[in-house]
Amino acid sequence: MTDATAFDTSYEPTFGDYFALLKPRVMSLVVFTALVGLLVAPVGMHPVEIAASVLFIAIGAGASGALNMWWDADIDAVMRRTANRPVPSGRVAAGEALAIGLGLSGLSVMMLALAANLAAAALLAFTIFFYAVVYSMWLKRSTPQNIVIGGAAGAFPPMIGWVAATGSVSVEAVLMFALVFMWTPPHFWALALFMRSDYDDAGVPMLTVTHGRKVTRRHIMAYTLLLAPVSGWLALSPVGGPVTVAVALVTNLIFLRGALHILRRDETAAEADKYRVEKRFFRFSLLYLALNFLALAADASLRAAGVF
């Protein structure tokens, strides 16, 4: 078969198929947290520099998503949630995902170095390496703590934003990192509780598969307990303020109550109401992160406006 006939018979990937390789939904979260990390920093940047920095941090995150899809195409094909991704569904060749991932990684790191500084670019390069190699290739399939490790990759963007503005890492940047890091396990384990068969089928060692669902419920509680002081400390740090304190207080109480609810249930109760509590906890977890970061941005703009 020649190349010409291959062109005629195969599906032609659209622009949208390639864009889907970058995991747009994850990217929107990265844009949001990186922007907040950048805005709360005490050093001002030109608006164009801010826009460019956030864009290239997001493209870097997208590139690591493409590398992840190249590597995980085999397990993505098995799971209902991911079977429709461009590579497992056959719309984009795996090699193309690899090429786009590598190309955009290089471009985003180089452009972030030019738009912001070398330290931010180095941190972005490390994040891509961490997500694509340490998480996707190495730990995802070998340890039930995969979610905890993967959470670190997702926690870097606000820190990169901060470093883009200030040029170095500080306590506030570490606290923003810690907030996303501690938030990720309860968020994903709640998902794993009600998407049970997906991970079982793919053979990914999710905590629900390896240690059972009772242990997973206890883990959700433990991480939610650890999350609360991190969020409180961040609210009392120089980047926090009255809005952050109030939001942290309310969201942590709701989150802890949800985790306690999950802890006290067993499988029969969960199956009886089709995982209503777990689903609600998962949905609230998205709101939790959004509200806590929005509060930081609100306090930063109130400070800038001279309200306090």
């Binding site: 659209t14 622009f15 030109h46 608006p47 164009v48």
Partner: protein, 61 residues
């Protein structure tokens, strides 16, 4: 020799090609405005070329 005939693949890939073209154009525009912003923030970039520029000389040392 330039390709004149429109192969069927050109029509099939049209939207993708326009997409890539727009992205590249956007990139060029972004780099342009980024350059302008950098110049504004960091001040004009000047150096010696073939002759001495007195306005660049460091004084008072």
């Amino acid at each position: 020799m330039a390709i004149r005939a429109t192969h069927e693949i050109h029509t099939r890939r049209r939207s993708r090609n326009y997409g890539v073209g727009l992205v590249l154009l956007g990139f060029v525009v972004l780099v342009f405005f980024l350059t302008m912003a950098k110049l504004r923030v960091q001040g004009p970039v000047e150096g010696y070329d073939y002759k001495l520029r007195p306005e660049l000389a460091v004084t008072g040392e």
